[in-house]
């Protein structure tokens, strides 16, 4: 099959920071030596190992610094999904003698959901706590789901799709008050580097993060594990990462993660302000220019860069393609745009109408976006919506097709 030869658009505007972000130039620069002269293994006793070993140590401090944790409590992984798998499976298997019940929410990432499904095959049981129309979980509902044999609670810090922030500190406080032996995990993959995150304030035992969400490289993430928290390794077979995660360390990526963490910590306030400002302008502008559109997620308790829209009468994949041909990269929760051809379970959980869910567009801004990007988006998105609505047999026929 021939592929498209359409010339590249004059300017690419990236508004899909939920998928991944461009590594900072200083991140890449810091990685390069570890791809070249400092190629040694940190486990080697000789001199070739010492540069990489010190680099790991430094990165561990940098990552700890970003989330208020001692370096010794940071375990490097290949990314956020592995960190979530290690947290959920690792804690469940380490504490299974205490019980086999896990509490989590309807809106967690697949890496938590599928880990839990796997554990169910090993005899574990799960309770999925519901969320409200903003995607928020009620901390009391989490407590109500606890049982005598509950060993693990996993509640994300920010949702991957609508950006809603969960009251994790409150969840942890109540769960620990109920039974302090229960391990509390938070998937903070979407929050770390985007908003201030502090493990002490949160009061969690385990916290997952990934570098490529905050301008670090792909291939490196971390799991914070508080003092005394045991984990059965997911990847067995070596002394690396204190026995919690075997495998020759991906030194270049971990170095990149460290630098990205340090930059995020240093620039946090400015980043939040900038990204939220751009997002708010875009949100206001689009709501002014497009009618019959809804914003998904919590109005205020939401990640600064997130804008998830359900646009009546059109379908997301086509919207995404037209925008991309105009140079604007966004994502969509529509079934057609997903590799699995499945609609978004998050939009379903928060009660978005099924047809509206097919018309969802996820715009996620980052620190590399500019005012000019917002101007362009405010011009292009309404045009594309109008064009597709003109083709739509259902737009304007809400009573027929929408609940």
């Amino acid at each position: 099959m021939a592929t498209t030869q359409t010339p590249a658009p004059p300017r690419r505007i990236y508004m899909d920071h939920a998928a991944t972000a461009r590594p900072l130039p200083e991140v890449v620069a810091a990685m390069l030596p570890y791809l070249a002269e400092e190629y040694g293994s940190p486990q080697s006793f000789h001199r070739q190992g010492s540069g990489p070993a010190h680099a790991l140590k430094r990165a561990r401090e940098q990552v700890g610094g970003l989330i208020g944790a001692p370096a010794s409590q940071i375990t490097f992984t290949s990314g956020g999904i592995e960190a979530n798998n290690l947290a959920v499976k690792g804690a469940a298997l380490a504490y299974e003698r205490r019980g086999k019940h896990i509490v989590t929410t309807e809106v967690e990432h697949y890496s938590v959901h599928h880990s839990v499904k796997f554990l169910e095959k090993l005899g574990f049981e799960t309770t999925l706590v519901k969320v409200d129309g903003y995607g928020r979980v009620d901390p009391q509902a989490v407590v109500d789901a606890l049982r005598d044999d509950t060993i693990l609670v996993s509640v994300q810090l920010a949702n991957q799709e609508v950006g809603t922030l969960q009251p994790v500190a409150e969840v942890a406080r109540l769960v620990k008050a109920h039974n302090k032996q229960i391990i509390v995990h938070t998937d903070a993959t979407y929050a770390v580097g985007q908003i201030p995150v502090d493990v002490a304030t949160l009061g969690v035992d385990l916290l997952s993060l990934t570098a490529h969400r905050f301008y670090g490289p792909k291939g490196a993430g971390a799991l914070y594990a508080g003092k005394g928290v045991r984990l059965t390794p997911l990847i067995h077979g070596g002394v690396q990462e204190n026995g919690k995660r075997a495998g020759t360390e991906n030194v270049p990526a971990i170095v990149g993660l460290g630098v990205a963490a340090e930059r995020a910590a240093a620039e946090m306030e400015a980043r939040v302000e900038k990204v939220r400002g751009l997002r708010d302008r875009l949100e206001r502008g689009l709501l002014e220019r497009i009618e019959n559109v809804q914003v998904n997620g919590h109005p205020s308790e939401r990640l600064p860069g997130y804008l998830d829209l359900s646009i009546e009468g059109i379908e997301g994949e086509g919207t995404l393609v037209r925008l991309d041909l105009d140079g604007i990269a966004v994502a969509s929760g529509s079934a057609c745009a997903s590799m699995a051809l499945k609609g978004s379970p998050v939009l379903h959980a928060i009660g978005v109408d099924e047809v509206l869910a097919q018309g969802s567009i996820l715009i996620t801004l980052g620190i590399d976006n500019t005012d000019a990007d917002i101007d362009d988006a405010l011009e292009e998105i309404p045009k594309v919506v109008a064009t597709l609505r003109a083709m739509s047999p259902i737009y304007g026929k809400r009573k027929h097709y929408f609940r």
């Binding site: 099959m1 021939a2 592929t3 498209t4 030869q5 359409t6 009468g313 059109i314 379908e315 994949e317 086509g318 995404l320 393609v321 037209r322 991309d324 041909l325 529509s334 079934a335 057609c336 745009a337 590799m339 051809l341 609609g343 099924e354 047809v355 097919q358 003109a390 083709m391 739509s392 047999p393 259902i394 737009y395 097709y401």
Partner: protein, 135 residues
């Protein structure tokens, strides 16, 4: 997949859809799909005697759904009803220089909408001409 996996023809028909909109004087309509599943097509035909003299569409759906609708309406204009009934989704797909594997169902949808329109047209013809439609 990325949209760059679509052929140039798919992108062309998506960006510049042919025969888009309701058809004035249409005497056959076919509707398939479900918005909740992400695609729905209305196909309008104007049939004169044994021939489709005009065709149009309105589609809610992805790039491939719209491109298949557009291509299909182009293909059937001037076609005999019988040829149109024999038009297969593979024919539309081929005319578009192929579809990514995930998107084959969109060509099926377009073919189904066409066949649906013809069937309803024939049923109505049978009814108005006082004949009972053969099952």
């Amino acid at each position: 997949m990325q949209h760059t996996d679509y052929s140039a023809k798919v992108i062309d028909h998506f960006m510049n859809p042919r025969n888009m909109g309701e058809l004035a004087g249409a005497n056959a309509v076919g509707t398939v799909g479900s918005p909740a599943c992400g695609d729905m097509m209305d196909i309008y035909l104007k049939v004169e005697g044994d021939q489709i003299v005009d065709a149009s569409f309105k589609t809610f759906g992805c790039t491939a759904a719209i491109a298949n609708s557009s291509m299909m309406t182009e293909m059937v204009k001037g076609m005999s009803l019988q040829d149109a009934e024999n038009l297969k989704n593979r024919d539309i797909e081929a005319a578009l220089d192929g579809l990514p594997p995930h998107k084959i169902h969109c060509s099926t949808l377009a073919a189904d909408a066409l066949h649906e329109a013809i069937k309803s047209y024939k049923e109505r013809q049978g009814a108005t001409q006082g004949k009972v439609a053969a099952s």
